[in-house]
């Protein structure tokens, strides 16, 4: 759980719109499933995904149980400057995972 794959182009031209792909390992337990003995398996999901670009938030997603296991989110952002794109996922039971990628913008 918490293992992430992030795809950010390593370079871009200033003003170019870049596509970012993110994939994180997480069961996204809905809270609606039952075990073999009939007990409800409690909800355990990622609730929030935030992307910051050199410290400024550029994208956010608020997730509910209807997001598939191993959440995959693709979004875009404008390449404004060279720097670091930071990704953070937080969720139930204190779940927290981070990943980052550097980008060179000419």
């Amino acid at each position: 759980m918490g293992n992430a794959l992030v795809n950010v182009p390593p370079r871009a031209r200033r003003g170019e719109i870049i596509e970012i792909k993110t994939l994180i390992s997480h069961p996204m337990e809905t809270g609606y499933r039952r075990s073999q003995l009939g007990a409800t398996i409690p909800r355990d999901i990622i609730r929030l995904f935030v992307c910051t670009y050199t410290g400024t938030e550029v994208f956010r997603a608020e997730l509910h149980p209807a997001i598939a296991a191993n959440p995959f989110i693709v979004f875009s952002t404008v390449a404004t400057e060279s720097g670091t794109l930071a990704f953070q996922w937080t969720g139930d039971n204190g779940f927290s995972a981070t990943e980052s990628a550097a980008i060179t913008v000419d």
Binding site: I17, I18, T30, Y32, Q36, Y53, T56, V58, F59, R60, A61, E62, L63, H64, P65, A66, I67, A68, A69, P71, F72, I73, V74, F75, S76, T77, V78, T80
Partner: protein, 153 residues
């Protein structure tokens, strides 16, 4: 003769819902009404117009556990005119909210992809929230099939 009469009586009683222990399974799905309420929470009293939003979903999903979805909103994405958020809802999942994406001019383009879960064949609705306070929506129907051989027999 006697057996037939008693069987008829049994069936009549059952039809009338009397004297039979009915195992009622509460459907674990929301209703279009629950979805409307979830949409109201986001939209408030504002009107939701049709258009400007495009939902790309497979018309037939191979497995309801993972249905790829792409949503886009026509917008110049400038400081003056951009998409603030995109909200996705379903009408027949156990709860109507799926995800809310918060965008802004730095997005460059209002286009997001993800993978969602669909509990049954149903309609998915996307609502785009613009910087001028207006709301736009579109819907798409998806047929959901179940895997033929389930492990927990």
């Amino acid at each position: 003769m006697d057996l037939d009469t008693s069987r008829r009586a049994f069936l009549q009683a059952a039809a009338a819902g009397l004297g039979i222990a009915v195992i009622r399974v509460a459907p674990a799905t929301a209703t279009p009404a629950a979805m409307d309420e979830a949409v109201r929470k986001v939209v408030g009293a504002s009107k939701v117009s049709k258009g400007r939003v495009t939902l790309e979903l497979p018309p037939l999903s191979e497995n309801g556990n993972t249905v790829p979805l792409t949503v886009s909103v026509e917008s110049p994405m400038t400081q003056a005119e951009h998409v603030r958020a995109i909200h996705i809802f379903t009408e027949l999942n156990p709860q109507p909210d799926v995800v809310s994406f918060r965008l802004g001019p730095r997005a460059g383009r209002a286009r997001v992809s993800t993978r969602i879960r669909l509990a049954n064949t149903q309609t998915v609705t996307a609502i785009g929230e613009l910087s001028d306070g207006s709301f736009w929506s579109t819907s798409a129907a998806v047929v959901v099939t179940l895997a033929a051989c389930l492990e927990d027999a």
